[in-house]
Symmetry: C2
Subunit: 237 residues, 2 copies
């Protein structure tokens, strides 16, 4: 008898290891560096809003990842200071971006155990957005690389992308599951593609990744952490 | 009888379409923007050297592509002016980088014809380095996307990467050929992996991509342009 579920896709950032916290630290650093160079009516909250607006505006040209984020910080720094920001501050922003490219990988609870046990029974595929080299670095440092049957670094997580990936690595989206902390990127489009979408909230979510939960779908599930995933996957047989 | 050559990999930038010329235009713009802000002993040649040094230095953290190049321009601008560059100049550098992300795709002579005819007889795979989203944009605009059996955007072109790609898309490197304008990235590592490496010089080469020709290898060939490729591939049967 053929099994209903044969393939499991894992998101990487904030699903297997911490990531968003380093963006938050860098945003705080951004505000700290800029606050003395902006007009009096600009506070750190406004700075955060302007940066987020620039990030959103630039997604279509830069895509996801630290390099585009760094460029958005520099652009915002120039704009909010009416081009009066000193070059030394911009140099600090470049350094802050470079630090993000070398932060240590800290696995989330149960991440290794979940991937290990599921890789024995299912095909497991890592599916992530971001800068190619940086995502590869993080996977290498995570020590999980050898467990995955496939690694896909993509520019956007759409239903079409999931159909393509689960056709190539598995038996199509109907027999596949995606697990991640982004409702918008990991859960909703997979369900739209015909697969299971498993939401594992992380706590810190980048605003761009918000989406309403697809509560209406029987293929939508939420678990508190990856420790609950093997039992959930075992139920779908 | 099994054919000796079943799979052909194509490099993208400066093999199928122009690319390096836009880096050169942007480097000229960089020098033009900076020249009034640097000490008298710094000329445009020195500026180009400093920028290249920063690019090389940053390859390990930023990888290839326009976003990293833009960050290297900004970093160099700050360094060569001892942090006296005005923010307005840095804003111009950001704009110059963004223009590179939207330049129009101009196919090289015979590129379309070569891929079209070879896609009838061989598996054809696009293999390119650079920023994920930007490489996807260029492929989409080239109109060649539908001809390829596979597209691989990689962080580095090593023998191991070619082995993996030609195993997945073809019948291994021994029955595969890579075609490109970079001796270092498209030709030498493929031959090392056991495949054919076909050099198609473009004229403009980024210094980082230089390597000595592997003249000793019977699997190394040079052709003046892609118009010569179908006949060459047909000879290997």
């Amino acid at each position: 008898m053929t099994r209903k579920l044969t393939t499991i896709g894992f998101d990487a950032d904030d699903t297997l290891w911490h990531n968003e916290r380093f963006f938050r630290i860098t945003q705080d650093r951004f505000a700290e560096l800029l606050i003395d160079h902006v007009p009096d009516n600009v506070d750190s909250h406004t700075l955060a809003e302007r940066l987020l607006a620039a990030e959103k505006q630039n997604l279509g040209r830069y895509g996801y990842g630290v390099k585009g984020f760094t460029l958005s910080m520099i652009e915002t720094a120039i704009e909010v200071t009416n081009a009066r920001v000193p070059a030394s501050v911009i140099q600090e922003l470049i350094v802050a971006g470079q630090m993000m490219l070398s932060y240590p990988i800290e696995l989330l609870p149960s991440a290794r155990a979940a991937v290990e046990v599921l890789s024995e029974s299912h095909r497991v595929v890592l599916i992530t957005k971001g800068d190619l080299l940086d995502q590869e670095r993080k996977l290498a440092q995570s020590g999980l690389g050898g467990l995955f049957d496939g690694v896909e670094i993509v520019s956007e997580k759409t239903p079409e992308i999931y159909v393509d990936i689960f056709n190539r690595h598995g038996d199509g989206p109907e027999r596949s599951m995606m697990v991640g902390n982004s409702m918008r990127s990991d859960v909703v489009p997979v369900i739209e593609a015909g697969g299971w979408g498993i939401y594992v909230p992380h706590g810190l979510v980048w605003e761009v990744e918000y989406a309403p939960a697809p509560d209406h779908s029987p293929r939508y599930m939420e678990i508190p952490n990856l420790g609950a995933l093997p039992a959930l996957a075992a139920e779908i047989t």
